[in-house]
Symmetry: C2
Subunit: 253 residues, 2 copies
Amino acid sequence: VARVLAVANQKGGVGKTTTVHALGSALAQRGQRVLLVDLDPQACLTYSVGLDPESLPLSLHDVLVGRNKAAEALVRAGTVSILPAAIDLAGSEVHLVGRVGREHAVARALETVKDAYDVVLLDCPPSLGILTINGLTAADCVLIPLQCETLSHRGVGQLLETVADVRAYTQPDLSVLGAVATMFDGRTRHAREVLADVEARYALPVLQPMIPRSVRFAEAPATGQSILGHAPTSVGAVAYRELAQTILDMLEP
Amino acid sequence: VARVLAVANQKGGVGKTTTVHALGSALAQRGQRVLLVDLDPQACLTYSVGLDPESLPLSLHDVLVGRNKAAEALVRAGTVSILPAAIDLAGSEVHLVGRVGREHAVARALETVKDAYDVVLLDCPPSLGILTINGLTAADCVLIPLQCETLSHRGVGQLLETVADVRAYTQPDLSVLGAVATMFDGRTRHAREVLADVEARYALPVLQPMIPRSVRFAEAPATGQSILGHAPTSVGAVAYRELAQTILDMLEP
Ligand SMILES: Nc1ncnc2c1ncn2[C@@H]1O[C@H](COP(=O)(O)OP(=O)(O)OP(=O)(O)O)[C@@H](O)[C@H]1O
Ligand SMILES: Nc1ncnc2c1ncn2[C@@H]1O[C@H](COP(=O)(O)OP(=O)(O)OP(=O)(O)O)[C@@H](O)[C@H]1O
Ligand SMILES: [Mg+2]
Ligand SMILES: [Mg+2]
């Protein structure tokens, strides 16, 4: 049965997309059947796996407005499959706003395809709006990428309150797997202080290993590969492969 | 007469808030009367200037839904004034969605207060939704913080199309002042390639100087000061002060 993980943090640029892509590739390398779902109208994940969001015949938007089945929008991208986004996904936010059951649109779409996979990873946009709520509602658990800087730290409490709301209203079984320390700069006292504060204040487990800062990440999206394809021996690739194993061990006790 | 600058880029974490705060402080240091406007429900700018978004009596949301005048929500914060945000600003997006003249809500609010200032800086959220459209519609010109990495580069074309739409429909006099290269890592070939590509592809001027990467920035928000207050002799503070002068020279020919 597929395990569904939402990767969420409303702060911008904390490594959500990078984490979904790298973990997805690493899990696929370990033989898992992986489906990625791009919930961001900016379609960074879709672009990062080598697709052109502007020339897709179908995207997640067509599925959420009921025009097409999820299976029709699925695309194979290397070692993973993806339910891609395009800019029209912003239209889904408007479409869903007034509708009954609006938080479950993504969950319903996934119902029809997820049994062909072992792991589904959902890339959320930098907001706590209806698309992120859909991502959380469709998930078994949440992974929180944490850039260890003050402004990113500040959003964690609000995100955890949102998770509590989703548990109360739309997905009672949603759990928090933990935080992933992204682009971690261990040399700075600031990063270590932010990390310690988050762990203490929210009792939020920080999964191991932490992901180090590396310029190889910024280059990867243009190549259509994750860090694992673009720089397989880099410290960043090694870290995400180990993190994938940590997560696998947590998902399959 | 007040000059109004929108600081916009839908990609997350590229330095919008940091740029608004640092430029605002630098302009105030040069004797300009500065008003900052926080258009992000996550209220990072509001927090960064030392306010607690969760205990504000009034915020921009109260103004946009017509409950209060802008002047009532203004707060003095050190050397600048701010129209602060709180999480309820997400409610403004819903409130404005169906309404006539919805793109002009912020412009109308500013009409009543901007004459007391020389410069107004608008901090936009990481999206091209109604709050960013309001920011662009209320502005004379746009400043685009550019983190020189592939995923940030990719959003520039879409942002410029949005600016063209605003010029066509809601603010014909909107101009693009240029890009600010933020957290620039000149040692990496990737950053220099992305910069050159943006300049060539979009004929987008990159204002000088570029802002270097520095850990001092991440620490500043927790102190309630911009980089200029927190680390006044740091390379980051020096760069933003010089950039403020560049912008002043462009605004007052
Ligand atoms: N470990 C790392 N070291 C250095 N750069 C990184 C690292 N991880 C990600 N990046 C880069 O940081 C930038 C932001 O990452 P990413 O786009 O994945 O964040 P995000 O949270 O998905 O952003 P958004 O909120 O816009 O969706 C990208 O250019 C990415 O390549
Ligand atoms: N020149 C710099 N060097 C190093 N870090 C920086 C620099 N400028 C900003 N930062 C840090 O990078 C992070 C992202 O910056 P900031 O929050 O200003 O971006 P943003 O575009 O406003 O993000 P969002 O899309 O979430 O609104 C913050 O932790 C900030 O302190
Ligand atoms: Mg992303
Ligand atoms: Mg911001």
